[in-house]
Symmetry: C2
Subunit: 142 residues, 2 copies
């Protein structure tokens, strides 16, 4: 469904949201520990999230990453930032041109599924997901 980088981006953002102490910088080491992902690859994903402005970073001792605690962040924003909008727009059959006016044979059938997917991603914030995690109902690693 999502790329490996996209999966890890979601886990990173959710984990950063669980941190209680506002303003604390969370290091790469701690992050990969808590989401159980390859360190070097995760560092690259963190870099991309930082460049996209979804998180902030600070170098040096006691540096790390944190959420710029402003408005709510949706899963949709994260996926768009890392995987692009292809999953929502690219033709399911791979046709270069596929639209309402020139639809592929399964265009209409899949429109509903994609709208559903987009709806879930847009309506779900990491803050909301965090709650379930803190309640112990869900897990970020095995």
């Amino acid at each position: 469904m999502f790329s490996r980088a996209g999966e890890i981006a979601l886990k990173i953002m959710i984990y950063l949201a669980t941190d209680q102490q506002k303003g604390r910088w969370i290091g790469l080491r701690e992050i990969v520990q808590e989401i159980d992902s390859p360190e070097a690859f995760t560092a690259k994903v963190l870099q991309r999230l930082t460049r996209q402005g979804l998180i902030r970073s600070l170098r040096g001792p006691s540096g790390g990453f944190q959420l710029p605690n402003r408005r709510a962040v949706t899963l949709h924003e994260i996926i768009i930032a890392i995987d692009g909008e292809g999953i929502f727009t690219k033709c399911v059959l791979g046709l270069a041109e596929c639209s309402e006016s020139c639809p592929c044979p399964v265009h209409d059938k899949f429109k509903a599924v994609r709208d559903h997917l987009a709806g879930v991603l847009i309506s779900t914030t990491i803050e909301e997901v965090k709650e379930g995690l803190l309640l112990g109902h869900y897990y970020l690693k095995v």
Copy 2:
């Protein structure tokens, strides 16, 4: 959403279903012409569909491929045969263990989307899709 091979498999199956003359063998050349896909790669996808029993093949002059005209074929069968069941079962966040009893933070949110996707694929047959194509409402290539 699907792999390139999966996309091409769907197009192949839909095209084969549009053929009116029952029993006719349709060659690779004609298929790639009609679905606008790379010839050698499409040949490989045809091979896999044949091995999986979703289509039949015949070598030699006037050979080619055809649907074994038996029961209806669903899009679900085709995707399972080529891409496997990963899209329906693998954790959205990539967790090795993720289930009802040990769910990732977005497990429940995405269950509905996946059930929706599976429902569409299971309930849609290539025969049904073919109808819309023959009516000229849809297109298999640009």
